[in-house]
């Protein structure tokens, strides 16, 4: 089970990697929609950084080498 979650974590990180370079994260020349007055790429980039941090934390719990 732990190995499956580890692979899922890697999969999610790779998905985020792909999304980073699409208009989903960096729409060229557009800063809408704003969130609390923050332009799109900024708040989306911040959210992405937090998600990656959370995935890294999850990864430490299920990493195959955790028991060594």
């Amino acid at each position: 089970m732990r190995r499956k979650i580890w692979r899922l974590t890697i999969g999610l990180v790779l998905l985020l990697l792909l999304l980073t370079f699409t208009p989903f994260v960096i729409p060229m020349g557009s800063h809408h929609p704003h969130l609390f007055g923050i332009p799109y790429t900024m708040w989306m980039g911040f959210a992405e950084a937090l998600i990656l941090l959370a995935l890294t934390y999850l990864g430490t719990k299920v990493h195959p080498g955790r028991d060594e």
Binding site: F21, I26, M28, G29, H31, T41, L53
Partner: protein
């Protein structure tokens, strides 16, 4: 203000002396001097990783990058750093396991690659790559701080003397206390860096009236700062991708970071450090956004030096201004000492023979590297962020060769890989100086080189029977 700097600066130097004193050890072996006994816990690990990674580039470079190129700078550095942190977790384990399984004494990636490829060329290529791209980076950091000091205290000391003083202090505590002294000072320097950058960040944010007000004012100045690619079109897909690859590879290709990966006392300690480092990265980079946006609103058309001088010093209370200067010096020293020391460790990893003799040569090499950095800092250009990126990308070219060495059972069969890497480094340097085109068609040369080398390494790895370094064998701790 100079008197205040002298007082607080003296206290800071005394703190460094104290830390060097407690780091001193009777055991003067290479394992202890260069690798701190490979017994580093997660608290020390966090600060030493953080202080080594976040340098002058963070305090001086990032605010200016936000000011000139806009919010895309967050993707360029913060998001890339988060992928790097996950990379430490994902690949760091296998690097440590491979080293453990090799039953060799690890002092540096150069020596380890020499072992993996059973080829001296492999070791030399890794060392040369690190040397070629780290020396300019160390030099530019010192130069950045020295120019700043010169601007804050015009005609008090010549530039070469500021630079020499910094390097002399660094070399003294590095030579006396070894890596342990560097890591203890990293704790002090990391805390100082975080404190200073947040104080300035909060001051700037308050003056702009809060987060949404800040972006509103930036919108009025230049709307294109709020999206990619930014006003000058820098943050296009290729630039961001190349930067991300370069940054993610830092822990495996830059000796000052790869050493820290290896010397953690356990995998657990490394994992905890990785998560804390990610948190630290967000904490450090966020206030540089506030400082940069403040600059975009108030100092839109100023030069970089004027913007930084006004925002970080003139607009602040004298005590804060002095703390900024000290924070800058600390940031430059904490990265530069580790990089120079890391290059020394790489030399040690290539040396054979009696440990005492090899360590003496290594300490001599550290001194020579410091002098080279000093000379370089007096003559280098002052494009801080772009030279930092050159350093990330340049050392990233070593990554395919290093990963092939780590993940392949039979790396020795691929003895051509170090030569190919050397060729790629040469082409990258030529393209950086515009001697050959820096784009082929629409694609950047550095990206072509990185992807080609990576692809070749993957194919060669499968061809020579690659494996994931087994996680099933016995033993764990280093």
């Amino acid at each position: 203000m100079l008197n205040l700097l002298l007082i607080i600066g003296t206290l800071y130097v005394l703190a460094l002396v104290y830390l060097t004193w407690i780091a001193r050890d009777n055991d003067r072996s290479s394992a202890n001097y260069l690798m701190a006994g490979s017994n580093v816990g997660s608290f020390l690990g966090l600060f030493t990783f953080a202080a080594t990674l976040f340098s002058t580039f963070t305090i001086l470079g990032m605010p200016d990058f936000f000011r000139v190129h806009g919010v895309g700078a967050w993707i360029f550095i913060a998001v890339s750093d988060m992928f790097m942190v996950f990379g430490i977790l994902m690949v760091g384990y296998y690097v440590r396991r491979k080293i453990k399984e090799s039953n060799t004494s690890y002092y540096g990636m150069a020596g380890f690659m020499q072992h993996c490829y059973r080829s001296r060329t492999a070791g030399i290529v890794v060392f040369l790559g690190a040397f070629l791209f780290l020396i300019p980076y160390v030099a530019i950091q010192i130069k950045g701080v020295v120019l700043f000091l010169d601007q804050a205290f015009p005609n008090k000391l010549p530039i070469w003397l500021w630079a020499s003083l910094m390097l002399i202090i660094m070399v003294i505590y590095s030579e006396l206390g070894g890596l342990k002294a560097i890591m203890y000072s990293d704790v002090l320097q990391g805390i100082l860096l975080l404190l200073v950058i947040w104080v300035i960040g909060i001051v700037c944010l308050n003056r702009l009236g809060g987060v949404s007000q800040m972006f509103e004012q930036v919108h009025r100045v230049d709307e294109s700062l709020l999206s990619v690619p930014g006003p000058k079109g820098l943050f296009d897909f290729q630039f961001l991708l190349g930067s991300l690859i370069g940054i993610v590879m830092i822990p495996f290709t830059q000796p000052q970071v790869s050493t820290r990966l290896v010397i953690m006392k356990s995998h657990h300690a490394l994992y905890r450090t990785a998560v804390a480092l990610g948190f630290f990265a967000i904490l450090v980079i966020l206030p540089t956004l506030f400082i940069g946006m403040y600059g975009a609103v108030h100092y839109e058309n100023d030069s970089t030096a004027d913007f930084l001088g006004k925002t970080l010093i003139t607009d602040q209370l004298p005590l804060i201004g002095v703390l900024v200067l000290l924070g800058l010096i600390a940031a430059a020293m904490s990265t530069a000492d580790s990089q120079i020391f890391g290059l020394g460790a790489e030399i040690r990893s290539l040396l054979k023979g009696e440990d005492d003799h090899a360590l003496r040569s290594t300490r001599g090499a550290i001194l020579i590297f410091a002098v080279i950095c000093l000379v370089f800092s007096l003559f280098s250009p002052d494009e801080l962020v772009l030279l930092a990126r050159l350093s990330f990308t340049g050392t990233a070219l070593l990554a395919p060769m290093i990963f092939l060495g780590i993940f392949s059972k039979e790396a020795a069969r691929c003895s051509w890989m170090p030569w190919l890497t050397m060729l790629a480094i040469l082409l990258f340097i030529l393209s950086s100086f515009n001697i050959i085109p820096n784009k082929l068609g629409q694609i950047r040369t550095d990206l072509i080189l990185l992807i080609s080398l990576g692809g070749i390494a993957v194919i060669a790895g499968y061809g020579s029977g690659s494996r994931r370094v087994s996680g099933k064998s016995q033993g764990a701790n280093f």
